[in-house]
């Protein structure tokens, strides 16, 4: 809400300092987000500090100053006799406006550049002194701060009023807070002149007391429509509204002042001069005064005359009864409508006005009459009109003040601090509450505060004005609570450490993706749709992490960042109809390197490929002590056929890996080959051993033998390893492949494999006599089972 300080000042008997008032309001929960300086005799002038003074060649009287103007150092040429370094001065920057329509421009004086002007008091219109520049001796001033015209300026506060405080959507409401914050009483600016009643009452019928608790109205006649005086126009424009004509401007002025929205009908356009408040029911459409045709629903609250709707209650009047230049008689409405009813209509129709902003949060049901009388008094004075009816005030559903008991001991318990009783009374009564008794304090809350309904609300009011900063931090004496460690969270952090330790960099991708992205990898699952996405690119929740990683690859490769090892840990979602979707934590990684990467200078390191991903999973399994791990071929969407495989541990499927299919890469706009894996976090956690089983290290040395053999190219190395281990007589503990060769020295269709075998006995040191027969048996077996031939 925007409020000119001068308007607030009308209500406060002590002079207000703009920045101090803003500070106090902010610390009382009415955050002043900005202060705009308007009016005044000049603008664009800041505080500057003269850093150095030097000559201007060829000009005796001129000096070239270097000035710190906050945003940087600027050169300014100055001819004043009292210029010297170190002083603070007002500097009119380029674009500044000074009295007498003077605009400051960047100029060159005698070959010296000047980016502003150091001002005298007369140049700023602040006095007659033109003997030298104005020297400011307030040491708290900082270069770059605005130099303001304290008398001629007004300050427009932009106050962030939280939705629980509809009473502060007006000058009077803010003024009440300001008065309490300055320890003074609220001053009413002008007493409402009672205007004599004339004519009969207004014919008002409230058919829906739930929607309209109170409707107050009066007719005025002999109105002359014209522009409103400047002081009204200036204030409502400062508050962000447009001036229209005297009648409309006055309704807006009084609304900004009191918070009560008012509406003026052209009384001669009201059928039968009647007002009926009712729900739309069968009425289907209505044209609001902005010319828009609105489709109504049966629940919308309408103001009707004898024949038709004339206003969307509390939101906007109708075109059919609008005040225009020819209007002579008006009916002025000041009513209280049910906030929820207004809010529903606002939401549904998508219409909003200054009136509805207040109505939907709740205006004071007791305030309709005062606001009406205030507006009538101003209208009579400014538009020449005179009353054509008495004030008609129909209360369909009385809304009474709430009474709340406040226990001082409860304040102590909630705040952990003692607040003097006198402060409690001062604050509550300063907010317009009636206070009786001491323990408990019986508080009657004015109807303008719909947010205060219970004891805790009163405690908040008390501490808000007592000062949050006066509650000292102090740790309570409550004892230790149980330790609840979160196994899943700790596991995920461990995975992050393992993967980053293996050279993978962690990425965070958006969980909201486009439709296509949910179909790229793995068996399709129903994706969770977002009903109101910002764009089609974010209309679904991700079903896998791989597409996001592909996007990270694309982003980096497009910026010539290659050699990528990335991982992400995050949730994926599967749609489950009406209820909440299934959320699972996934762990995924990619390896992608450009063919342009040159490698290490000394010996060429292998280019990362499919085996790098498999090796990553093997290392991960090793790091986590996973048991019964296996890799099985398994076709999977998104992977190049043949490279797709699943990773199992403990007999359960953990996830899959492979090389990203070229069609997927094309869809993701990725040019380089990408190898990836994606695992299920909870499956991984489930097969995690509680702690590793530790055995003593072998006491006797192993005997190592190398074995080179040639087999058909199609024989899987794993099956040979299996044969080796099965025929090791229980002493062969490992058979590691150290070479694989296919080429010139090997017959076509065959490959050469070389293993290191380690034999180990827990009981004694093995000798050649132990190992030789085992080796012979192994070789025979390899020959017969795999058609292997020994390579010498």
């Amino acid at each position: 809400m925007k409020i000119p300080l001068a308007w607030l000042q009308d209500w406060i008997p002590v002079p207000l300092d703009a920045h101090e008032t803003a500070r106090r309001l902010t610390l009382a929960g009415l955050e002043v987000e900005s202060i705009d300086i308007v009016g005044g005799r000049f603008r664009g002038v800041v505080i500057g500090r003269i850093l150095s003074v030097g000559p201007v060649p060829g000009a005796d009287k001129l000096r070239l100053c270097r000035v710190d103007a906050g945003s940087g150092e600027i050169p300014v040429v100055c001819g004043a006799p009292n210029v010297r370094d170190g002083i603070l001065v007002p500097v009119a920057l380029e674009g500044a406006e000074l009295p007498g329509n003077m605009k400051i421009r960047r100029t060159v004086i005698r070959n010296a550049e000047s980016a502003g002007m150091i001002c005298s008091a007369r140049e700023l219109g602040l006095g007659d002194d033109h003997s030298g520049i104005l020297v400011l001796d307030d040491p708290s001033l900082r270069p770059g701060d605005a130099f303001t015209d304290r008398e001629g300026n007004d300050f427009i506060f932009d106050i962030n009023v939280t939705p629980n405080r509809p009473d502060c959507l007006c000058v009077r409401g803010i003024a009440r807070e300001v008065a309490l914050l300055h320890g003074c009483a609220l001053r009413s600016p002008e007493t409402v002149k009672p205007v004599d009643a004339a004519g009969g009452p207004v014919d008002i019928r409230i058919e829906d007391p739930d929607g309209c608790s109170r409707y107050t109205a009066r007719r005025l006649k002999d109105i002359r429509i014209g522009p409103s005086p400047e002081w009204i126009r200036k204030r409502i424009e400062a508050a962000g509204m447009h001036a229209i004509n005297n009648i409309v401007d006055i309704t807006n002025y009084v609304m900004l002042e009191t918070g009560q929205p008012l509406h003026a009908f052209d009384a001669d356009l009201l059928d039968g001069g009647r007002i009926i408040v009712r729900r739309a029911g069968e009425i289907r459409q209505f044209t609001t005064l902005d010319g828009q045709e609105r489709r109504l629903s049966a629940e919308d609250l309408l103001i009707c005359d004898g024949a038709r709707p004339v206003a969307l209650a509390g939101i906007m009047g109708g075109r059919n009864s609008e005040v225009s230049e020819g209007t002579r008689r008006i009916l002025l409405e000041s009513a209280h409508f049910d906030p929820m009813t207004i809010r529903r209509t606002v939401k549904r129709i998508g219409i909003s006005s200054e009136a509805s902003i207040r109505m939907e949060k709740g205006v004071d049901p007791s305030g309709t009459r005062d606001a009406l009388e205030r507006a009538i008094a101003i209208m009579v004075e400014l538009s020449g009109g005179c009353p054509d009816s008495g004030v008609t005030d129909v209360v369909a559903r009385p809304i009474r003040p709430v009474r709340i008991s406040l226990r001082p001991q409860r304040i102590r318990r909630v705040l952990g601090a003692e607040i003097p009783h006198a402060d409690i009374l001062r604050i509550l009564s300063g907010l317009g509450m009636t206070v009786e008794g001491t323990d408990p304090v019986e508080v009657t809350v004015p109807t303008r505060r719909p947010d205060v309904t219970g004891e805790i609300d009163l405690i908040e009011e008390v501490v808000r004005h007592f000062g949050y900063d006066r509650i000292e931090p102090s740790a309570s004496t409550t004892g230790p609570t149980a330790v609840h460690s979160n196994r899943e969270d700790e596991f995920i952090e461990r995975l992050r450490d393992i993967l980053s330790g293996m050279g993978f960099t962690e990425v965070f991708n958006n969980s909201m993706v486009d439709r296509q992205s949910t179909d790229l990898f793995f068996a399709p699952v129903p994706a969770v749709p977002v009903r109101n996405p910002l764009s089609p690119e974010t209309a679904f929740l991700r079903t896998a992490l791989m597409p996001g990683l592909m996007e990270s690859v694309r982003w980096n490769q497009n910026r010539s960042v290659f050699d990528l090892r990335l991982f992400e840990i995050g949730r994926v979602f599967e749609h489950r109809g009406e209820g909440l979707p299934e959320e699972r934590v996934r762990v995924a990684g990619v390896i992608s390197e450009s063919a342009r990467q040159k490698g290490y200078w000394k010996s060429r390191s292998p280019r990362p490929d499919w085996y790098a991903v498999k090796g990553t999973l093997e290392a991960l399994a090793e790091a986590l002590h996973l048991k019964e791990t296996a890799f099985r071929p398994s076709p999977g969407r998104g992977w190049v056929p043949g490279t797709a495989a699943v990773f199992e541990a403990g007999g359960k499927r953990i996830g899959s890996f492979g090389e990203a299919d070229p069609s997927v890469r094309a869809a993701c706009d990725v040019s380089e080959r990408v190898f990836g894996f994606e695992l299920d976090g909870s499956a991984l956690l489930e097969c995690l051993p509680q702690s590793p089983v530790v055995r003593p290290v072998p006491r006797y040395p192993a005997v190592r033998r190398d074995l080179a053999l040639v087999v058909d190219a199609g024989v899987p190395v794993g099956s040979i390893q299996q044969t080796l281990l099965l025929n090791g007589g229980g002493l062969l503990v490992s058979a590691d492949l150290f070479d694989l060769y296919q080429g010139k020295q090997i017959p076509a269709g065959r490959k050469s494999l070389a293993f290191t075998l380690a034999f180990l006995s827990p009981e004694r040191t093995l000798t050649d006599a132990d190992v030789d027969p085992l080796m012979n048996g192994i070789i025979r077996c390899l020959e017969s089972v795999h058609g292997a031939s020994l390579r010498s």
Partner: protein, 340 residues
């Protein structure tokens, strides 16, 4: 054989070995020395064979000497071999300016780094980590937090909906309710996680971001405790010179509610562009748990009191590392991520 002969023989072999070794220049000559002295038919093996025929009185001493010679010769040959091979390959004088062969270095995402610091800080203060779903029911995200349908506070956050009753959680506060439903006081938890808002991305807004929610419920927990825990956090996170400022605010699920500020971490309170010369930076919201929320969670608000607080992980990270644009966290440019 006389004992003098045997020990003298050992000494002679030793001297011969030393002089041959001193002359050895390359790997083949070393190999020859190894065969001559340490081989299966070498000088030392030959002497071992004669040991058996020696006088038992001298056998012990001669055996010890011979073993000692064997070990010394073995390590001398190995050491010399390493030196010779290093010399031949040039490794005895590496070029210190040539790049080493380094394993790849992975980095944690800055948000992970900061979230871990936040978690660690509160874990030291006795808070446990709790989790809740990112896609929430309207009940947990709003209603049970005292934000009924049609409440103006629903306008404070732009919500992304899955259906009428299901939303992408707009804050981590629903975890408060889920925890309180399952755990009677004392409760002391933090809930880190992803949240969603219908905000168009710009330098300071991201439709996906991270929060850490905190909740403490027990007998005798007060606003003063809340200030103490926030102060402790500020100092652990940003340094012991931090001060905090609480300003009244409004959240339907806390009362009294506050926005809390820290001393500007850039200028340490002196005033700068980041803090708009106020010396303070806004961190997030906090307050005492509203009795209405206790009612939804089935906790007696006369007996128990509690506080709750939130914080934005992106915001903290941006302050800690002076990151200017929130979108950088989700672009995953390695030139950005590699700096953390």
């Amino acid at each position: 054989m006389a004992s003098e002969n045997l020990t003298g023989e050992i000494r002679k072999i030793d001297e011969a070995f030393q002089s041959r070794l001193a002359e050895a220049k390359d790997a083949p000559s070393l190999e020859r020395i190894r065969t001559d002295f340490l081989g299966r038919k070498g000088h030392i093996a030959r002497l071992f064979e004669t040991l058996g025929e020696a006088d038992p009185a001298v056998r012990r001493e001669a055996g010890r000497l011979l073993n000692e010679l064997k070990n010394r010769a073995q390590s001398a040959v190995l050491g010399e071999a390493a030196r010779v091979s290093a010399k031949e390959s040039g490794e005895d004088r590496p070029d210190l300016t040539l790049p080493g062969y380094a394993p790849p270095v992975g980095r944690l995402h800055p948000l992970t780094i900061v979230m871990r610091r936040v978690k660690s800080c509160f874990q030291k203060l006795g808070f446990a980590v709790a989790q809740g779903p990112e896609v929430e029911s309207d009940y947990y995200n709003f209603e049970a937090l005292n934000i009924p349908p049609g409440h103006p506070a629903r306008d404070m956050q732009d919500t992304l909906y899955v259906s009428d009753r299901v939303v992408l959680r707009t804050h981590t506060s629903p975890v408060q309710i889920r925890v309180m439903e399952n755990q009677k006081p004392p409760v002391r938890i933090i809930a880190p996680g992803r949240v969603y808002r219908r905000d168009t991305p710009d330098a300071s807004h991201s439709p996906v971001f991270h929060q850490v929610e905190g909740l403490c419920v027990d007998e005798g927990v007060s606003f003063a405790d809340l200030k103490a825990v926030i102060l402790a956090f500020a100092r652990e996170m940003f340094g012991s010179d931090m001060t905090i400022r609480f300003r009244p605010s409004f959240f339907p699920f806390t009362e009294p509610s506050a926005e809390y500020d820290f001393t500007c971490v850039i200028c340490r309170g002196k005033g700068c562009r980041v803090c708009k010369n106020t010396g303070w930076v806004e961190i997030s919201g906090a307050g005492m748990v509203n009795p209405e929320v206790f009612r939804f969670a089935g906790i007696d608000s006369e007996r128990y009191t509690g506080y709750a607080f939130g914080m934005g992980v992106e915001r903290l990270t941006m302050l800690l590392y002076e990151v200017q644009d929130i979108r950088a966290f989700y672009e995953n440019d390695l030139r950005f991520l590699g700096q953390f």
